[in-house]
Amino acid sequence: MGILEVNNVSKRFGGLKALDNVNLNVMENTVHAIIGPNGAGKSTLLNCLIGKLMPDTGSVMFDGQSVLGRKPHEINQMGISRVFQTPEIFGDLTVFENVMIPIFAKRDGAFALHAFSRVLNDADIVMRTEAMLEDVDMQDKRHANAASLSRGDKRRLEMAMCLSQQPKLLLLDEPTAGMARADTNNTIDLLKEIKASRDITMCIIEHDMHVVFSLAERITVLAQGTPLVEDTPENIKGHPKVREAYLGEAQV
């Protein structure tokens, strides 16, 4: 049994069948990549997992519970965090505050009215924030406005925000999109480090085959809304159907 089970999920947008009977099983503590050409339905699938979209049919079970029909914040509270294609951070807030907020959310739930205590007097939160910033090596930028960070640092910060919640499942939507090679390699190293240091399941959507084959333990290939194959990276590389549908047009 996997930690995330997607069964027979379909989603239509008007006449377009974005997802057609998708089945996906993500095993606990693995890095699972979903690849496929543009328009294959990767992002639609991800949006169905986090409550942004409601599939027309099928079920999505996380940790034994259905996520369908739940609000995004409820799904996050179940233990799913998401890294977006363009980093979604609190641009007007400092790096330190950006990391504090998810920790507050994890500890106090979806709403807590602490209107009279001082933020920095919460020793528990401050300590955990410090530790998280140290983990991603951003202590020196703690007072910087998040919007002023470089693209790579924004990505790093967003991952720190997600990881600070100790999610059971981390969803990554093209974490290296638009990055220079050096930044991409840094991100790969960061993700490897994260995986090695804790129990976490990751589900990555990625275009860059270099990233996919350096990280993934299982790969699902999606084409035109249906999964073609699911296998280990070694087998995917040689799979004729995959070559035809996808890898033929990109270099491995």
Binding site: K71, P72, H73, D92, I101, A110, F111, A115, R118
Partner: protein, 398 residues
């Protein structure tokens, strides 16, 4: 001190000192001098500085922190006023129950309006709140006449029950609002040479509430709740995907600011026990938006400064008339003096709104951060003269 950082304590102390000594600070010109018309140290105006300061402080908690621009906050000001007058009519002329009930009723009303309006954000939220406020205005003006006394406005009468302290004062006239016997309108006059200062009981009651409101605002700004409200403004999508439900946060901010508006409405009637429907009109809602932006939205002290500036312009400029202008320009030859009066005329008296508009345009164009940003720029100028001092990093909430 008081659970505040050093910086905040200093700011708080300055505000307290300014409020306590305002009757002196705002009367810098001797009573007999021609400049005396620029004195703002009379009770009526000073009370308004504080009351609208409270209104703007509350509005800033919603608008400055969450970015939700409500165009209907006058509805809560009006509700608070009506509730306050009803307390005077039914219960007692003591201002305390009137103010408390004003806050409670405005709070409940804002739960209702906030719950519905906050389902939308951006311009749709603004329009919804505007619609609700105009509805409240129209209702107060016509349909709800039994409660609001329509056009005339709700006022005290000798037939009111006033179950705690009787309908009329000892001499048979209408009783006046008091705080456990201290009449709100009672004043002590002080004379120093040519200077006249008025210390008014009502003003100092407002001062207590305004200082408390300012303190609450500092605490909220520095609390986890305040941080979450800034997160709403910054990136609501990230907030939701971080496991936080933004709806109750925005509703709480809306209700808090509604209660501040109710407090302001209650204080208005405590100073002058009369409530009219025009207090709910959209121009009032717009005024508080102007105050907040003019002073500096999202800053602690900004809304208070903005409220002060607008009320000062409103009261001082509108008193200046053509004959005063002729006096000012009497030094110039006749033709030139007439010409100058002709030029300045549209900006004074009833035209004070024009001056406000110009000031507002200048501030928005050159100081988008409001008067507070202006102050920071001046402070930075002075700091630059001493090269060994580091230029301070702009604090996000100041």
């Amino acid at each position: 001190m008081l659970g505040l950082t050093k910086r905040d304590t200093a700011l708080f102390a300055i505000v307290v000192a300014m409020v306590v000594f305002a009757p002196f600070i705002l009367n810098p010109f001797p009573a007999a001098s021609p400049m005396a018309q620029f004195n703002a140290g009379y009770p009526d105006l000073m009370q308004r500085f504080l009351i609208f300061g409270i209104f703007a402080i509350g509005f800033n908690i919603l608008f400055g922190l969450t970015g939700y621009l409500s165009f209907g906050h006058a509805a809560f000001l009006g509700t608070g006023s009506y509730a306050g007058v009803w307390m005077f009519k039914l219960l007692s002329m003591n201002v305390l129950p009137a103010i408390v009930i004003a806050v409670v009723v405005a709070g409940l009303f804002s739960v209702l309006i906030g719950y519905i309006s906050l389902r939308r954000s951006g311009i749709y939220f603004s329009i919804l709140t505007l619609a609700f406020a105009q509805m409240s205005y129209a209702l107060a003006y016509s349909v709800l006449t039994p409660i609001t006394n329509g056009e005339t406005g709700l006022q005290l009468s000798l037939n009111d029950p006033r179950i705690l302290d009787g309908a009329a004062a000892a001499d048979g006239s209408l009783p006046v609002p008091n705080f456990f016997g201290i009449e709100m309108r009672s004043s002590t006059e002080l004379y120093f040479g040519g200077w006249e200062f008025t210390l008014n009981a009502g003003y100092y009651l407002c001062a207590v509430f305004m200082i408390a409101a300012f303190y609450v605002s500092i605490r909220i700004f520095r609390s986890p709740f305040g941080m979450m409200l800034r997160a709403v403004k910054s990136n609501q999508q990230r907030m939701n995907y971080t496991g936080l439900n933004s709806r109750p946060y925005t509703l709480a901010a809306f209700v808090i600011s509604g209660m501040f508006a109710g407090l302001a409405g209650g204080l208005l009637v405590a100073m002058d026990p009369l409530a009219g429907a025009e207090r709910m009109q959209w121009t009032r809602s717009g005024e508080v938006v102007l105050m907040t932006i003019l002073g500096g939205m999202g800053t602690l002290i900004g809304p208070v400064l903005g409220a002060g500036l607008i009320k000062y312009l409103e009261n001082i400029l509108s008193k200046i008339n053509d004959s005063i202008l002729h006096q000012w320009f009497s030094l110039f030859p006749d033709g030139l003096s007439d010409f100058l009066v002709f030029i300045v005329h549209p900006f004074i008296g009833k035209g004070w709104n024009l001056t406000l508009g110009l000031v507002f345009m200048l501030v928005v164009i050159f100081l988008p951060g409001g008067l507070v940003q202006g102050g920071q720029k001046i402070a930075a100028l002075f700091r630059r003269r001493k090269p060994d001092q580091p230029v301070s990093v702009k604090h996000p909430a100041e």
